[in-house]
Symmetry: D2
Subunit: 268 residues, 4 copies
C-alpha cells in the first residue's frame, strides 16, 4: 500500500481521490500522483499558479511522465523526502481566448480567463468537418495561414503526445521551445515548426464553422468563431517534476517507442 | 457565355443552377459541370445510381477534376458531342451506417440508407476531441485497431484530397484500389494501406464520443455511437468522366502540386 | 531436424546450403526456404524465370515472408504435400539498365541483361552525396522529375521493406500495383504514387554523380550515368508462395508492426 | 555592376572570384556573397574560426540565406555600411571524426581535424547500400540506435535543407537547438528529435560498409568504418549575417515554401 510507504518518511497532507484538494489554498511540499500520464496532466492543471513538485507513479503501463513503478517509489522515497533529487522545470502554456480579435474595434474585444496546459494547446474542428483556415501570428507578425483539420502548439513535454501523432518532432524536455504542428494540412509544404517558447502565438480563425474549439491538454476551453483568437504564451510558472535516476529522457523514448534498434520493417 | 457554346453542338436539357435537376427521372447524355472540383463532387453525389458522363469546366483555379478552362471547352466541344473522346470510369464508394453492428443480436441491427462517394468515406470526431478507437474489418476479418483522430477510406480520385493531407499516397485513377489512412494515429507504425476496391470495409467504433460522425465526400451521413459500423463497398456504378487530350494524370499532378522539378527547399 | 520432417511426406531433390542449386536445369515441385525474408528474396532471385512454389520457415524472428515456425511447418507439412493449400502469386519486377537512353541516337543505346526483383528496384546514390535528379517516364510519358537521394519502385510484397522506411504506404499483396517512393525528396509535394503494375516505368538520370547505382532487392545491378535509364516492368513470371492458414496479411502486419491497438505515444 | 555599388560606400578589400581569399590572414569588416545559398555555405566554411558578417545577394532565384536581390542591395548598401542593421548570429557545428572510438583501447583512437558546418553534419551510405546501424550518444549517454540509410544533425539554418527533405521539422533560426533526423529509418517509431545545441552528439557506426562517409554541408569529411565516431558539437564561433528589414524568417518560409495559404490539394 503506497500510503504506508509514503507515511514512513513524510507527513501526508491530504489524499485526494476525488480531485477536491484545493492547491490554491492548502500547502504541501510535494505531490505524489498515482495513475498515469493523464493523472499528472490533471494535477498540473489543477495546481495552476501554485505549482509544487510532483512525482509520478504509474499503476499500469509505463508512462512518459509517470515513469516510476510502485516498487521503485518505495526504494527511493526516503531520499526523495530528503531532497536528494533535483527538480526539473517544464514550461507550461498560458491559454486565452480573445473574442473578436480580428473584428473592427467597435464590436469590442474580450478575453476569457486563462488556463494552463502542460502538453499542448490546440484548435480542433468537428461537425460539419469542413476545412479550417487559421492565421498564425507570432509576436504580432503574420507567420502563416494554415488550411487544415486542426493546429497544435505543443510544449516539449507534450511533444510525444498529440503532436507526435500529427507528424511533429520530439522536443527534448529541457529545450525552451514549442512546436507548431498542423493536423492534415491541405498545403503539403506546411511542416511542423519549432520556435522559441518566449514568444506570443496567436491562432486566429479566418474560416471555421460551428464546432471549432480551443482545446488545452485535451479539454475544451471554449468555442471559437471567425475572427476569434486563441492566444498562447509561456505560463509564468513551470511544472516541477522530481528527477529520479535511471529515467533519462532518451531512455524513456527507447522504452516507450521501442527505440532499441529492433527493426520493424521487412528485410532488405 | 458557355450556354451559347454548348447550344451550338448540343441540345441543352436543363440548366441546373440551384441543384434542383432530378437525375433519377430525367434523361441526358452528358452533364457539363461548371465551377470546380466541389461542383463535380456534388454532381456525382446527386446522380447517384444514374451516372451520366461528366465534363468539368473550372471557372476559377485549375482543379484535379475540373481540368478544362472555358476556352478549352469551346475548342473541343463539337468533338465531345461527336463522341470523339473516351469515357474514364472512376470507382465510387457505397457508404452505409450499420447501427448496433457490434452489439448482441437482441438489441437489433439496422442499416441506414446508403450514399455514394467519389472522393472518400471517413469517420471524423469532434468535441470533446478525445481519441477514437476504430476497429477495421476487411471482408469480415479484423484488420487493425486504429487509435486516431479520424479514419479515411479514399478512392483513387479522392487520393489527392483529404487522404493526401492526412499523409496518404496518391493512387493512379485507373487503379482498382482504395487507400485507408488514419488521421493523427496514436501508434506510429499505423501507416496508410492500399487494398483492393472490391472488398468490404467495415469501420466499427470501439471507443468514441458524442460527436463522432460518418462522413462521405465532406458531408455528414449520420452520427456513430460505440458499436456502430460504417460499411464501405464499391458502388455498383462508376463516375464517368470525358477524357480530354492533354490532361493526363501525371500532368495534372505536375501542374497542381508543382511537380515540375523546381526545388523548394534550401540549398545543399 | 527439418530434413526428417520433410522426408516423411516428400522426396528431397536437393539440400542447397551453399546456393549452388541450379533452378534453371533441375526440377522440383516445391522449395522450402529456411532462414528469414532475406533467404526468400535470394531464392526468388535465383529461380529467375523458373519459379516454383515456395514455403518459408523462419529460424529466428518472424518475417513478413517467412511467417512459419518450425513446429508449424511440421504440423502442416503432410497437407502441404497433398496440395491442400492454395498458391499465392506475387508480382515480380523485371529490371534492366538501358545505357545512353537519353543520348542522341549516334552514341548508341545498349541494354544490360535483366534481373528479377521481388521487393523493389531502386536508384541509390553514394559519395559525393549530391542530390540526384531523376526523370520518371511511365509508358513513355514524362510523369515527374524527382530531386532526391534515391527513388524506389516497390512491389506489394516489398512495400513493407525499403518503401515503408522511405515513407511509402503498405500495399496489399494481391493488388496489381507498384508504389513509387522518393527518398528525401527536395520538393515537399513529391509524395508516394501507387500505379498499375502492368505499365513501363523508366527512371532516367538527369543529374547524377559517380556512384549512382541501379539496385534490385538490395543488390547492385550496375552503375548509372547521366542519360542512363533504369527500366522496370512486370516480370513474365510470378513468385509463388504457399498460402498457409492463420497467416493473413493484416495479421502479419499486426504482429510485425505492433498494430494491435497498443498506443505508443504520450497520454492525451 | 555590383562592384560599383559597393565601392560607393565602402573600400573593397578583395574580390574573391576563385575562392582564393584567405580569411585567416586578411582582414575585412564584411563579406558580400553573390550567388545563392551554396555560395554562402562555402563562404561560411572557408572563414572557419574567423567569421566576419555576411550579406547574401542572390543572382538567380530567391534563397533561404541569399534573400536580397541586386536592387535591394543597392537601396540599403549605404545603411549597411553605416552599421544600421543588426547582425544575427547563427550556430555552426564543429565536426570531427574519431577513429576507433568504439574499439578496445589498444588499437588506439585518433581524431581528424575538424570542419565547421552551417547547415548540417550527416552520415551517408553508398554502394553496396546495405542498411546502416548507427548508435547515437548524447553527452556520453546512448540515446538510440538507428537502422537507416543515413542520419542528419542539422542546425536551425540547415533545417530547411536536407533535414526537411528527410522529414524533419523547421527550426526557427534563433533557437539554440539542433535536430536529429534519420533518412529512411527502418523502425517506424524513429522520429526526428530536437535537442539543445550545447550538447555533444556522437554518431558511432555499429554496422556499416565500405562507402559510409562523414559529411558536412554536403562535403565529404572522410570515410567511416565500424567503430568510428562522428562527433558533433557547437562550434566556438557563429555565422554572422546582416539582418535586413522585410526579410523575416516566416516571410521567407511563405515565399520559398508557398506558405501563403494557397491550397494545393484536391477539393474537399
Amino acid at each position: 500500500r503506497i500510503e504506508r510507504i509514503l507515511a514512513k518518511s513524510a507527513d501526508i497532507v491530504a489524499i485526494d481521490e476525488d480531485e477536491s484538494f484545493d492547491f490554491q489554498k492548502e500547502k504541501a511540499d510535494l505531490a505524489v500522483v498515482l495513475g498515469g500520464d493523464g493523472s499528472i496532466l490533471s494535477a498540473a492543471r489543477r495546481m495552476c499558479l501554485q505549482q509544487i513538485p510532483v512525482i509520478g507513479v504509474n499503476l499500469g503501463r509505463l508512462g512518459f511522465l509517470a515513469a516510476l513503478g510502485e516498487n521503485e517509489l518505495e526504494a527511493i522515497w526516503p531520499e526523495v523526502c530528503m531532497g536528494c533529487y533535483p527538480i526539473d522545470e517544464h514550461a507550461m502554456l498560458q491559454c486565452t481566448i480573445v473574442r473578436g480579435w480580428g473584428a473592427s474595434s467597435e464590436s469590442g474585444v474580450s478575453e476569457s480567463g486563462y488556463q494552463l496546459a502542460l502538453n499542448e494547446a490546440s484548435i480542433m474542428g468537428g461537425p460539419p468537418f469542413s476545412m479550417l483556415q487559421i492565421d498564425l501570428y507570432v509576436d504580432d507578425e503574420l507567420a502563416s495561414t494554415y488550411s487544415c483539420d486542426g493546429l497544435i502548439i505543443s510544449t516539449p513535454v507534450g511533444s510525444t503526445a498529440h503532436n507526435l501523432s500529427a507528424g511533429g518532432p520530439i522536443l527534448h524536455r529541457r529545450l525552451e521551445a514549442v512546436v507548431i504542428s498542423p493536423i492534415s494540412p491541405h498545403t503539403l509544404t506546411m511542416r511542423p515548426v519549432v520556435d522559441r517558447a518566449d514568444r506570443k502565438f496567436e491562432m486566429v480563425i479566418r474560416q471555421g464553422h460551428e464546432s471549432v474549439a480551443a482545446v488545452f491538454d485535451g479539454r475544451v476551453l471554449g468555442p471559437l468563431r471567425e475572427g476569434d483568437c486563441y492566444r498562447i504564451t509561456r505560463a509564468p510558472v513551470s511544472f516541477q517534476m522530481i528527477s529520479v535516476p535511471g529515467k533519462g529522457e532518451y531512455k524513456t523514448l527507447r522504452d516507450k517507442l521501442g527505440w532499441g534498434g529492433n527493426p520493424r520493417v521487412n528485410k532488405r
